[in-house]
């Protein structure tokens, strides 16, 4: 008996090691995850910035050859891991998110927009461009766990800018320039 009390048994040591191992694993995992979250958060803000930059380029009518389903990456800005897809208009496959529940407010909102667009087409015919065009930008980037993450930005942009229709632009705004000359 006195011999046994002088040390730990193998079971005791193993249990202790086990406990330490579990604690260490949990801690390391926690640390990893917090780094991952910080990285993901940052990647998302980069994606938000890049997509709004792209949107600003479209707004300024400087996005060349913009068409539905146009895609590319942001290697020029130094982020070649970030890829984008641009979708135009409401009828596009990209414009409606298939994951949206048909009971959700977003679905109702999209549906009302679609109806309004249909009504306008019925009235004016579809040869005329709407004043604004829906632009949907989807930016995809690998997350910290290397699973792809998607960021979506949607905005209504002047149609003349989206389609680089400068004749339409002059139709809309040229009269102002003439007026300015008269005032001056």
């Amino acid at each position: 008996m006195p011999r046994r009390a002088q040390g730990f048994t193998l079971m005791e040591v193993m249990a202790a090691v086990m406990l330490i191992a579990i604690a260490m694993t949990t801690l390391m995992d926690l640390r990893n995850r917090s780094v991952g979250r910080a990285a993901d958060g940052r990647s998302m803000s980069v994606a938000a910035r890049l997509s709004s930059q792209l949107l600003h380029r479209i707004e300024a009518a400087q996005a060349l050859d913009l068409f539905d389903g146009m895609s590319g990456d942001f290697s020029e800005e130094g982020f070649s891991d970030f890829t984008y897809v641009v979708a135009l208009g409401d009828g596009s496959n990209y414009a409606e998110n298939n994951q949206i529940d048909s009971d959700s407010p977003e679905w109702a909102w999209r549906d009302s927009l679609r109806k309004r667009e249909d009504d306008r087409m019925d009235e004016e015919g579809d040869d005329q461009r709407p004043e604004k065009t829906r632009v949907v930008i989807r930016v995809t980037y690998p997350g910290f766990d290397l699973e792809p993450v998607e960021y979506r930005l949607e905005a209504m942009v002047d149609s003349w800018a989206v389609y680089r229709d400068f004749e339409l632009y002059r139709d809309l705004w040229d009269s102002n320039n003439e007026k300015a000359d008269v005032i001056r």
Binding site: R31, R42, Q53, E77, G78, Y169, K179
Partner: protein, 299 residues
């Protein structure tokens, strides 16, 4: 019964640890130390990574966003002499260090002491500028300042309070687009007094350098290790804003005598909010909108 520390009559081995015991305990403590140091080191790496993240995503975009906010609040109404925005192309040590001054509506960032009411006050309209200058004691970097001058005086390009935005600027370049077109050629300078209009779009190029802390951890984070960062953004001035400016429209408050012909209609006895038609009546009777241009002499 108390046990004596050293038992007499026992073997010498009971007096201390065996070699085996010491070795094992040293091994275990080495393991523990290694684990602690590894975790400390990787935590340090994580801190580095987060530091880089914060630095890269804060420095540039924040400046761009600040500039955009100011540009969105241009004081376009009633531009008597079309003095509103002046951008100059400048060079410092061979790199772009452009300067821009403009009039901006909105509460000033810095308050100013008003002796009349013995209080710090904020201006509702300011001269705002973005200026770049050489950084003292550094041949590599420039400093970017935001200039804010309380209210508006005759010269929108002088004086004011300067607050430093960043002191690790490599270059700061602004370009002005006149009209949207297929292949628009931007101007380096813009003076709204000469042009009598605003550019439809301003492009901002900003280059700055941060000091990244490099570590294996942060390499896993996309682009977190780049030191030199370039930011380019286009800022569109909406056609409606340009229209207001070109045509020098000025806002009037219905019912308020704007130095026009007659006094406002005196039907305020009800104290209720006037309906739309009433506002129109007040407008026509008060001769709203006949003040004409205010010519020279500042705004």
């Amino acid at each position: 019964m108390k046990r004596p520390l050293i038992k007499t009559g026992q073997t010498a081995s009971r007096l201390g640890f065996t070699l085996m015991e010491v070795l094992v305990s040293m091994f275990i403590s080495a393991l523990i130390m290694t684990a602690i140091f590894t975790s400390l080191e990787s935590t340090q790496k994580a801190v580095d990574a987060i530091h880089n993240i914060t630095l890269t995503e804060r420095a540039g975009p924040q400046l761009v966003e600040m500039f955009r906010k100011d540009l969105e609040r241009l004081a376009v109404y009633d531009a008597g002499e079309y003095t509103l925005l002046k951008g100059e192309s400048k060079n410092l040590r061979g790199v772009d260090a452009d300067r821009i001054n403009m009039l901006v509506v909105g509460r000033s960032v810095l308050p100013q002491y008003n002796a009349l009411i013995d209080r710090m006050t904020y201006a509702p309209i300011n001269e705002v500028g973005y200026w770049v200058r050489n950084r003292d004691g550094s041949a590599d970097f420039l400093e970017l300042y935001r200039r804010e001058d309380f209210l508006v005086d005759d010269d929108i390009e002088r004086e004011g309070n300067f607050s430093m935005l960043n002191d690790r600027i490599i270059s700061f370049n602004l370009q002005y687009y006149r009209e949207p077109d297929y292949d628009p050629a931007p101007d380096d300078n813009w003076d709204s007094t000469l042009e009598a209009q605003l550019p439809y779009c301003i492009e901002l190029f900003l280059e700055l350098e941060i000091q990244p802390r490099k570590s294996a951890e942060s390499k896993q984070i996309l682009g977190a290790n780049r030191a030199r960062l370039e930011f380019a953004d286009l800022m569109v001035i909406p056609e409606s804003t340009r229209f207001l400016f070109r045509n020098r429209l000025h806002p009037v408050i219905p019912g308020l005598d704007m130095g026009g012909s007659s006094a406002p209609a005196a039907d305020g006895d009800t104290g209720e909010t006037p309906t739309d038609s009433e506002i129109q009546d007040i407008g026509s009777s008060a001769g709203v909108g006949v003040t004409g241009n205010r010519g020279t002499g500042g705004r």
